[in-house]
Amino acid sequence: MRESFIDTTTDLLAEDPRTALVLADISAASFAPAAARHPDRVLNVGIREQLMLGVAGGLALTGLRPIVHSYAPFLVERAYEQIKLDLDHQAASAVLVSVGASFDRAAAGRTHLSPADVALLDTLSGWTVHVPGHPAEVPGLLRATVAAETSAYLRLSALSNDHPYAGAGDLVVVRDAGPGAALLVAVGPVLDAALAAATGLPVTVAYTHRPRPFDVAGLRALAGTEVILVEPYLAGTSARLLSAALADRPHRLLTLGVGREELRRYGAAEDHLRWHGLDPAGLRQAVARFLTPATAAV
């Protein structure tokens, strides 16, 4: 996904003189050719994430369309007040693109993990959030968000599904289990694991790469009485939206994702998926327990 982002951004810089890129050293070497061609619009401020967002706000106030890029914890968590004040409060907008996700660099430890980034941005208003599930989804999403005038966050990951899904982010039914089946919504790169987990179970599986704004109409059209949400970031991040969308009908909701506890373990992303119950076996166990609560309680 990172390579797809670099290629598309390099093209956008050449195509539209309004486009600017602000970096804080991360990925700077990959953008060296673009920086040579557009030295006034490819700006590497050094390891200064607060300034990176402040510069983006200033660029936007002059009419440019900044793309801002770094590791997720440095982009969203470290510079959160700048996102809130230097963009939103100024009525300025930008496209934020992160790498690293929840635990892509698990061996780097807690400092490079960012399971709470989407929840943190969710405290703000009007943001579009895309969590691509495949590198081929990235170019279209990046182009669409840069062409828009509002702020957006693209959360790129080293994890991906086998196949991309086109579209703007409305729910796409990937597996239809028929009337009365539970609905499982998978966000971004957890789709394949969710599909594997649902094998043989009465579960319809739908996919989205756009948790914000969430496709509420699609959810209401697909949901019965049992809804399962699987997100590759902090568990329950979108629970409030689903609960509100279904408030007028009886339903049960299970939200799965990354736990809050700091595990203090390294390993690989696949290990963390397993420890957080986001691998096929963990998801299947949770879904089966949810669908047969009485049995599970015995």
């Binding site: 003189p17 600017a20 006034d40 619009r41 700006l43 401020v45 050094g46 200064r48 607060q50 300034l51 967002l53 402040g54 510069v55 983006a56 706000g57 200033g58 660029l59 936007a60 106030l61 002059t62 009419g63 440019l64 007040e81 700048q82 004040l85 230097d86 409060h89 100024q90 009525a91």
Partner: protein
């Protein structure tokens, strides 16, 4: 065309603070409405007046002109004098001053750029203006807008915020010649600035002038004295009891 009489009038007005007859005093009193203002308000008023009266190329008719100068008040709590100056220059109706902070007012205790004509940034949380100013200067440069200057006003205590030092270092390295920072130094930084405020900037390649913050001619000379390919800082020293 500016006549000599006009210039003489402006000089006389700008000199008024020395005589205790500041041109915006009546407007500031309307904002004050009997409240006590701290030194942060009065220490900034002279700089603001020199900027808007003699330096900035902006009028109420050009607040959206890409070629305008930009003034960013980072020290957002010094807003009372800012509102008074904006009213004196016709950016906001003087009547707005009478209800500052009220439930229907556009004028809060910190400025909001979406609510007040002529205000370039919303500020209040310290340490944001300089970064935004760097981005604004870069954005103008990237679009070939080489005449407008970006002025940002910060306080000496505000410089404690680390975000300022990210901006100071980068602006120097980037050679942002269209950027002027003004530091109102009323000695309010808790641990002070060893060697003086200006050295914090010059070490990163800025040009600097340190002047009496109550001397309008000295301020004018310092604010218009930038040259070369480097960002410029004007340290306006004022009495912290003023």
């Amino acid at each position: 065309m500016t006549s000599l009489a006009t210039i003489a009038t402006r000089v006389a007005e700008a000199a008024a603070p020395l005589d205790g007859r500041h041109p915006v005093t009546p407007l500031l009193e309307r904002v004050r409405a009997g409240r006590e203002f701290g030194p942060n308000v009065y220490s900034t008023l002279d700089v603001l007046w020199v900027l808007y009266d003699r330096v900035l190329r902006i009028t109420p008719a050009t607040v959206d002109d890409p070629e305008r100068d930009r003034f960013l008040l980072s020290k957002g709590h010094a807003v009372a004098g800012y509102y008074a100056v904006l009213a004196a220059k016709g950016f906001v109706p003087p009547d707005w001053l009478d209800d500052q902070g009220g439930p229907e007012s556009r004028l809060g205790d910190h400025p909001d750029r979406t609510l007040v004509p002529g205000v370039e940034i919303g500020s209040g949380s310290l340490g944001h203006g300089l970064g935004l100013a760097v981005g604004t200067a870069l954005g103008l440069r990237a679009q070939g807008l080489l005449d407008p200057r970006v002025y940002v006003l910060v306080g000496d205590a505000e410089l404690d915020e680390g975000s300022n030092h990210e901006a100071i270092a980068y602006a120097g390295a980037a050679g942002l010649a269209n950027l002027t920072a003004i530091v109102v130094d009323n000695s309010s930084a808790t641990h002070g600035w060893s060697g003086g405020v200006a050295t914090r900037f010059t070490v990163n390649g800025w040009t600097a002038a340190t002047v009496d913050g109550r001397d309008p001619d000295a301020l004018h000379t310092a604010l218009t004295g930038q040259h070369g390919h480097r960002p410029h800082v004007v340290v306006a020293v004022v009495d912290n009891q003023a």
